[in-house]
Subunit: 86 residues, 2 copies
């Protein structure tokens, strides 16, 4: 029970970790210091985790990573929106 709580807390904390970043980007209308490579690399990685979770038929892996992927896609959209094109 204790260890399940640790696992669930870990999953919740990491799944929703990009919410504050998305809010900060939206409010600050800036993404200058954000690494695009980090956003793209994480999105690809999390996408593969969803595939791997589907293969393992593990709903937790699929759900947790889907939430992360969704916020990462919003972050990528905001990055594009607030980055000055040269």
């Amino acid at each position: 029970m204790f260890w399940q709580l640790i696992g669930v807390s870990a999953a919740c904390l990491t799944s929703f970790a990009f919410f504050p970043q998305v809010i900060k980007m939206y409010r600050g209308k800036s993404s200058k210091d954000i690494s695009l490579i980090t956003l793209v690399q994480l999105s690809l990685g999390v996408g593969l985790w969803i595939l791997y979770g589907a293969y393992l038929k593990d709903l937790i892996i699929v759900l947790a990573n889907s939430i992360t992927l969704l916020t990462l896609l919003i972050a990528l959209f905001l990055y594009r929106k607030y980055t000055i094109k040269i």
Copy 2:
């Protein structure tokens, strides 16, 4: 074999995802647009994943999350260094 490759790729991509962010913060000497809450929340979450992985005796979970935690701690250090104190 194919699915193991998917899992390993997912783990590698997400484990090393904060390396480019750390490099960008170091080069840009700025962390204005980075969300401190995201960094702290991810560090806590990844820390709990390490505990959970140790409980499951799963070396992959422990190793992958240790790499992420290490880069997140460097990112937190740089965040503190480059944030103007009021």
